[in-house]
Symmetry: C3
Subunit: 423 residues, 3 copies
Amino acid sequence: MLSEATIESVQVLLDNVWILMAAVLVIMMQAGFALVEAGLTRGKNVANIFMKNLMDFCIGALLFFAVGYAVAFGGDMTGLGSYIGGDGWFLAGDGIFTYGTLDKFVFFTFQVAFAATAATIVSGAMAERTKFKSYILYSAVISAVIYPIVVRWQWGGGWLFQLDTPFHDFAGSTLVHMTGGITAAVGAAFLGPRIGRYGADGKPRAIPGHSIPLAILGTFILLVGWYGFNAGSWLAAGTEIGAIAVNTTLAGAAGAFAAMMTTWLRSGKPDVAMAGNGLLAGLVGVTAGAWVVNGLGAIVIGLAAGVIVVYAVSFFDKIKIDDPVGAVSVHGVCGAFGTLAVGLFSTIESDGIVKKGLFYGGGTDQLVSQVIGVAAVAAFVFVAAVILFATLKATVGLRVDPQEEIEGLDVHEHGFPGYSHAD
Amino acid sequence: MLSEATIESVQVLLDNVWILMAAVLVIMMQAGFALVEAGLTRGKNVANIFMKNLMDFCIGALLFFAVGYAVAFGGDMTGLGSYIGGDGWFLAGDGIFTYGTLDKFVFFTFQVAFAATAATIVSGAMAERTKFKSYILYSAVISAVIYPIVVRWQWGGGWLFQLDTPFHDFAGSTLVHMTGGITAAVGAAFLGPRIGRYGADGKPRAIPGHSIPLAILGTFILLVGWYGFNAGSWLAAGTEIGAIAVNTTLAGAAGAFAAMMTTWLRSGKPDVAMAGNGLLAGLVGVTAGAWVVNGLGAIVIGLAAGVIVVYAVSFFDKIKIDDPVGAVSVHGVCGAFGTLAVGLFSTIESDGIVKKGLFYGGGTDQLVSQVIGVAAVAAFVFVAAVILFATLKATVGLRVDPQEEIEGLDVHEHGFPGYSHAD
Amino acid sequence: MLSEATIESVQVLLDNVWILMAAVLVIMMQAGFALVEAGLTRGKNVANIFMKNLMDFCIGALLFFAVGYAVAFGGDMTGLGSYIGGDGWFLAGDGIFTYGTLDKFVFFTFQVAFAATAATIVSGAMAERTKFKSYILYSAVISAVIYPIVVRWQWGGGWLFQLDTPFHDFAGSTLVHMTGGITAAVGAAFLGPRIGRYGADGKPRAIPGHSIPLAILGTFILLVGWYGFNAGSWLAAGTEIGAIAVNTTLAGAAGAFAAMMTTWLRSGKPDVAMAGNGLLAGLVGVTAGAWVVNGLGAIVIGLAAGVIVVYAVSFFDKIKIDDPVGAVSVHGVCGAFGTLAVGLFSTIESDGIVKKGLFYGGGTDQLVSQVIGVAAVAAFVFVAAVILFATLKATVGLRVDPQEEIEGLDVHEHGFPGYSHAD
C-alpha cells in the first residue's frame, strides 16, 4: 500500500547513501594528504609521514567517536552550549544530534572524515623533525577537542551560526582548513626550521621533495575526494550538488593555472609542485562559498588563491616558518581568504543562512560576519595551539635530536627505512 | 499517474546504483592489495606482483562469469545443492539467482569483486618465489571452484545457512578472508621459505619490503574499498549502512592503534608496516559482524585483531611458514577470530539470521554455529588447497629455480625489470 | 501530501547523484592516465608528465566551461548546427542543453571529465620530447574546439546522430578514445621519434619505462574509473547499468588476458606492461557497445582488442611513429575497432538508437553507420590535428632541443627533477 512515508523513506535512503559515498570520498583524501606530504619531503622520513597520516585517521576516529562528536554536536546550543557541546559521548543516546534525514552513523562518518582532515593538515608543516610521540599526542588533542570546539561554533549551531547574519562556511574553508593551517603555523614556529633550511647567511635554501609522482598523485586524489567534501556538505541529495561540483572544479582548475603562471612569470619556469599546491589552494578557497558563488566567482576565487599561495609560501620562508609542504599557505591563508570571499561573491540570499556579497549588491553584512568568524576561529586556534605545543615542548619534547633529523626519522623513530634496496 | 510500482521502481534503482558503487569500491581494492604486497616485498619482484594481482582479477572475472557464479548461486539449494550449485553458467537464464531487488548483473559485479579478493589474498603469502604459470593456474581454480563452493554453503543458501541457528558471516571474514588466508598458508608451506629468510642457525631474518609508501598507500585504498565491502554487503540501500560503516571505521582504527602499540611495547619502536597490517586485521575482524555488533564491540574486535596479528606473524615466522606480507595472519587468523567474535558480541537477534552473542545474554547457540562454520570452511579449504598445490608441484612445479629467485622474478618471468634506470 | 512530482523528484535526485558519482570516477581517471604515462617512460621526465596531465584537466576544464560545452551541446541542431554548436558559453542561460533529468551542472561535470580524457590520451604518445608551452596550447585547442566538435556530431544531436540508422558510440570509443588516439598519432609523427629510439640500423630499440608499479597502479585506477565512464553514460539511474558494468569487466579482463597470452606466445614471456595495455584496449573496445552487446560479445571484443593492441604497437614501431605508451594503439586502433564491432555484435534493436549487428541477424545497416562515423571522425580529427601541430611547429615549436631531451624535461622545463635524493 502506498503511503506518504514510503516516498519519504526512499528519499531518506537516497540521502544516506549519497552522504555515505561522499564520506568515503573524504576518507580517501587521507591517502592524498599522505602522498602530497611524502612527495614534497625527503625519502629518509617517508615511513614516518605515512605513519603520522595513518594515525591521524585511526586515533582521530576513535577519539572523535568517544569525545569529539559530543563536543561538536552534543547537547543544547544555548549559553555555554553555544561554545562547547557535551552530550552523545561514544555516539550513545537516542536523542543524539544528526542533520536532516541522515542516520546518526552516516552523519558521524561524514564528520569524522572531516575531523581527520583537520588533523592531517598540520602534519605537513611539522614534517621531518617532529617526535612521533608528540605528534600522536597533538593529533589526539586536535581531533578530540580543538577542532570539535570550532565546529561547535558554526555547524554545531553555536554562536557563529547564531549571529544576526550567520557566519557562512559551507564546507569548511575556516573550520577545517584554516584550523589546520593555523595550528600548523604554530607547530612549525615552535619546532623551528629543519637543519639546513637556512644558510649561514640566513637565506632560505630549498630542500626539494623526493618524489613529484607521489605529490601529484596525492593532489589528484585530493581533487577527487574534494567532490565528496564540498558536494557532500549539502548533507542530502539535492540538485544543488551539481553547481557545487562545478564551482569546485573551476576554482581548483583556476588555482592550478594561476599558481603555474605565477611561478612561470617569476622564475621563468612553470613549477610542478606549486601548480599542485595551486590546485589545492583553489579548492580550499572555494570550500566556504561552494554553494553560494557562481562559476565566475569560483574562477576568481581560484585564480586569486593560486596567486596568493605562491606569495604566501615566500612570505613564510622569509619569516622562517619552515613549512615543508606549504600547508600553512594552502590551508591557513587560502582558507581565510576563501571564507572572506563569501562576503564578496555570494550571489545567494537565503534567510538566516547567507546574504548576498558586496559585489552582488548585498552590502557588508555578510562580509562583517565572515571577518568575525575568521578572526574568532583564528584567535581561538592560535591560543589553543600555543598552549598545546608549549605544553608538549615542556614535557615530552617536540623535536627529534639533530642526529636523528640528519639520518632520518624512519630508522630512528620506527626502526626501518621507508625504502629498502635489500636483495 | 501514481502507482505502487513507481515508488518501488525508484527504490529498486537506488538499490542497484548503491550496490554498483559499492562493487566499484571493492574492485578498487585490487589496487590496494597489489600495492601492499609490492611495498612489503623486494623491488626485483615488483612487476611480477602487479602482474599476479592484475591476472587474479582478469582471469578470475572471466571464470567466475563462466563457472564460479553458477557454483556459488545457481540451481536449487536442497540435497547436493546445499553444498555446490550448478546452474546459470555464463550468467545465462532468466531464472538466475540474484538478491532482493538487485539486477543479476549488479549482484554479479559485487560478487565477482569479492571472488577476486579471495584469490588475491593468497598472492602475498606466496610472493617472490612462485612460478607465474603455477600462480595463474592456482588463481583460476580458486576463483572458479574453491571460493564459489565456500560461498555456496552460506551466501548461496547452502547448509551453513540452513543450520538451526544459521552461521553468520556478514561480509566474509570467513568466506572471503579466511578462505584466502588458509589457502595462502598451504601455498606458503608447499613453497618453503624464500632463500635467505632463515639463517644457518634456523632463526628468521627479516627481509624488509622495498617501499613503505606503496604499502601504506595500498592500506589506505583497502580502507576506502572496505566501506563498499562491508556496507555494500547489506545488498540494498538501507539506513543500516551507517552503523556498518562506523563499525568498519572503529575496528580498523582500533586494529592499527593496537598493532602499533604492541610493536612499540615489544621492540621499543612503533612499526609502520605492522600498523598498516593492524588496520587490515581490524577490518578483516569486523567484517563478519559488521552489522550485528555495536561500536564498543567493533573497537574490542579491532583492538584484539591488532594484537593478534602481531603475535600471529611471529608464530608463523617461528614455524617457518614464510609469508612475506603477513597475509595468513591478517586474513586467515583474524578472519577466523572475527567470525567467532560474532558469537560473543552480536547485539542483534533477528529470527533465522543471527542470535545475540554470549556477552549480550544470547547463550552459546550463535557461537556454536560460528565454530561449525569456521571449522568446516577451514577443513574444506585446507584439503582443497593441499590437493591443488600438491598437483601443481607434481606437474608444472610451484617454485622458480634459485638463480631466478635471487636475481628476481621480474626479469626471468616477464622479461623486464619493474624499475628501470635507463637514460 | 503525496503528489506525482514527489516521486519524480526523488528519481531526479537519484539520477543526479548517480551521474555526479560517475563523473567523479571519470575525473579519477586523470590520475590513472598520469600514472600509466609516467610509469612507461623515464624518470627524468616524470614531473613534466604529471604537470601535463594536471594541466590537461585544469586548462581543459576552464575552456570546456567557457567554450567547449557550447560548441558540443549549445544551440539548435539543424543546418550548420548539426556540425558545430554555439550557445551556452560559460554555461550561462536557462535554456542550456542538458540530458533527461540531469541538472545542467551535473551533466557538465560528467562531460568535462570526458573532455579531459580526450586531451590526456594524446599526452602519452608525445611524451619525453614535447615543449611544455606547445603542449599547453595543443591541449587547450582540443578541449575547446576539436573534441567538442566531434561530440557535437553525435552526443550533441548532430549529423551522425541524425543518420537514418544513427551512428552508435555509447560511451565514446570513437568520440573520446579514437579522437585522442588519432591526434596522438599525428602529434607523434610531427615530433619524430625520441633520440635513441631507433638504432643506426633503423631498427627500433625498446626504451623501458621507469616504473611498472606506477603504470599498473594507473591501469587499476583507469579500470575503476571506467565503471563511471561506461555505466555513467546511461545518463540516469537504470538497471541497465548492471549489464554495462559486466560488459566492461569482461572486455577489460579478456583484453588483459589476450594481450598477455599474445606476448607470451610471441616472445616466450608474459609482458606486464602489455597486459596492462591489453586491459585498457579491452575497455576502450567495449566502450562503444557497452550497452548493446551481451557478455559473449564483450569477451570477443576484449579478446580481439587484446591481440590487436600487441600487433598495433609493433606496427607503429615499424613505421617509426614513436608512441612511448602505446596510446595510438590502445585508444586509436582499439577505439575504431570497438566502434565497428557494434555493427557486428549489437544484440539490441532500439528504434532510432541502434540496430542489431550483422552477427545477430541485423544486416549491415548499423555497420555501415559505424563505418561512416569512424571514417568521418578520423578524417576530421586527422586534418584538424595536422593543422594544429603544423601551426605549433611553425610558431612556438613542438620539440625541445636535443640536450634538454637527453638530460630530461623535468629540470629544463620545470626547474626541478621529479625525483630528488637530497639529504
